[in-house]
Symmetry: C2
DNA sequence: CGTGGACTAGACAACGTTGTCAACTCTGGG
DNA sequence: CCCAGAGTTGACAACGTTGTCTAGTCCACG
């Protein structure tokens, strides 16, 4: 069979050798700049010349080397995204939204996961800057972003999402964490609960701190005391959540409802409560797939990660397009989604 | 407040101007090449000289321009990943695994979502090649990858995952789709089902085709006839799944069990069956979070997307390290996870 | 037939880095 | 006092592209 044989022409395409514009020019019998013009669709090339150049390009399998182009032009048409974990169901849509906006602006997206490690965030950010990304979208793991100062003043547009930057001023897109948590806890109060627990993320994380503040605000709004035994601002690993929640649910005056500070905590609590004797009310921060199919369906305070990613990316490209002015701070509302678990009465 | 003022030193760091090695050299009073040596940790620089260079680097906020470096060296230390949708819970861990392997090899990951559009896959792949990524990991949307021939022969290592490439030979990592589906359907047969439906993805997708073949094989193994009314190799959009499954479940001889061809179909069926009168057995291809918390908990044939990503990336870096030989084809086993829905008896 | 303008084309420098190579400064041994 | 050799250092070209500038060709018009 003839057509399964390797292509026999291979005019100058030895393995590993990439044809350059110079090669194309030689093959087509024209000057280097003419090839450049054809490749970039610039005007001023005669039809016949253009045809010859295109044939040479096809024959050699030429593809423009964007590294050289970038070096010459100064812009890479790529942006970087650094977040905690690309595989986290909360961040995946955010990443996807940034990608879509980038694509609409003709840019590629390079992303990296910081795994909540400040040093890794820094390494990634600087590596991306060395690649000369035009801009950065960052979900911070670090508490100090002064390392970005030279980059920002060199013109790298930078937008922070989900958590504020540390020790520098920059554009920012946040969820209304405090208000969301407050509404979620108020919802439990409205359904008759007076002893409400809070299980959240490590307190040095901004969102966790805000949500805890929202919890306290709602309790205070309702004139309810907070027993510190009801508050577990610990880690989110399942073991610890089980232990902390178990403590709240035992004892003489157990909580009748729990507010979960993020989706991982919520899921762990769903498992725990499903196995428990009493029906404890539950409201979780963050929506998650299938929440409506659990029994009882889980009431949540939903964020909109795709909208956050989209707005952050739009802010970024606005800056790249030359938008000036002081750092902007956008706030993305949350939405209470009652599904059942948050409407259980006390003493179920 | 003094410390909110912009940094006043700005030695040569005008906004938008990036210091180069030349600037650092001038600032430190040394030659250009000496700066290069320090930046790259090469030997042969006197301690005192090195100190002066490092001070200049810090003072100017210099960061090496990797575009220029790439142009000179030919390798970018970055790899590309193209998949259908980064936010899909099946692909997110795959992407994450590729990232981890890339990181271990000092490479950055650039990813793009093809959204199942062949033309977009092609655009993305070529854009990545123009950036001169060292290698590509691709979950194909296209059926014809001959467009990659010049790239591959120019030395871009290429590995396909989840689905085979079209019309070219290349390294490949697949799940055992056929065997997995066969085992899942056999599991239903072993629990007494004789009329089993299949709802799967569009048949031009390789995995969908294989899973359907596995379904037919299992039925044939058991000596069971397949009524074509039980087979719905349609789209995966919820409307169509509901319609097709509804048809199988109505009529004179309704199916007593359904095998779902992927996670999106499974979730739609869970919703449908939860609202139905009879309890229909269900086994789904692909695991998903919270499957164990539904009622009944969902029995699945689990793939291991992280392992697939890891193995694909390892194959890629092995090629980049010089591994020769013909294209390799790796197979990743699936695992049947009985949880309840697949063990329901017929006629529930 | 001369001239101006439109159109086409290519020579050349520059982008910021790294590899090559030559040159310089010491040191110590003969 | 000379020289070999080690230890430093920098000049220069090259990577592949694009911006600038000059020059040639052709046609219409006076």
């Amino acid at each position: 069979m003839v057509d399964t044989a390797p292509p026999a022409d291979a005019v100058g395409t030895r393995y590993g050798a990439r044809p350059t514009m110079k090669d194309v020019a030689a093959h087509a019998g024209v000057g280097l700049k003419t090839v450049s013009r054809v490749v970039n669709g610039e005007a001023g090339v005669a039809q016949d010349t253009e045809r010859r150049v295109r044939e040479a390009i096809a024959a050699l399998g030429f593809r423009r080397n964007d590294s050289a182009r970038v070096l010459r032009k100064g812009r890479t048409s790529s942006v970087g995204l650094i977040l905690e974990d690309l595989a986290d169901p909360f961040y995946a849509p955010l990443s996807r939204a940034v990608e879509e906006v980038a694509r609409a602006h003709g840019a590629l997206l390079i992303n990296g996961s910081s795994t909540e490690d400040p040093e890794r965030e820094r390494e990634l950010a600087l590596a991306l800057c060395a690649r000369r990304v035009d801009g950065l979208v960052i979900v911070p793991a670090s508490r100090d972003h002064r390392y970005l100062e030279p980059e920002i003043s060199a013109g790298v547009a930078t937008v922070f999402v989900d958590r504020p930057p540390g020790r520098i001023a920059a554009d920012l897109v946040l969820s209304e964490n405090r208000e969301g948590a407050r509404a979620g806890v108020a919802h439990l109060v409205a359904h008759g609960h007076r002893r409400i627990g809070f299980v959240g993320d490590r307190p040095h994380i901004h969102t966790a701190e805000e949500r805890l503040a929202g919890y306290r605000a709602a309790m205070s709004d309702a004139g309810l005391p907070v027993d510190e035994a009801w508050v577990a601002p610990g880690a989110t690993d399942p073991e610890r959540v089980r232990r902390d929640a178990g403590r709240m649910l035992g004892g003489a005056e157990p909580v009748t409802a729990i507010f979960a500070g993020n989706n991982r905590v919520t899921v762990t609590l769903v498992r725990l409560l499903a196995a428990a004797e009493h029906r404890t009310a539950l409201v979780g921060f963050d929506d998650f797939e299938l929440a409506d199919l659990l029994s009882p369906p889980v009431t949540v305070v939903a964020q909109d990660p795709a909208a956050m990613g989209r707005r952050a990316a739009e802010l970024l490209f606005a800056r790249l397009a030359g938008a000036g002015g002081p750092p902007r701070r956008l706030s993305q509302p949350t939405r209470l989604v009652p599904r059942g678990s948050g409407e259980l009465p006390p003493g179920g």
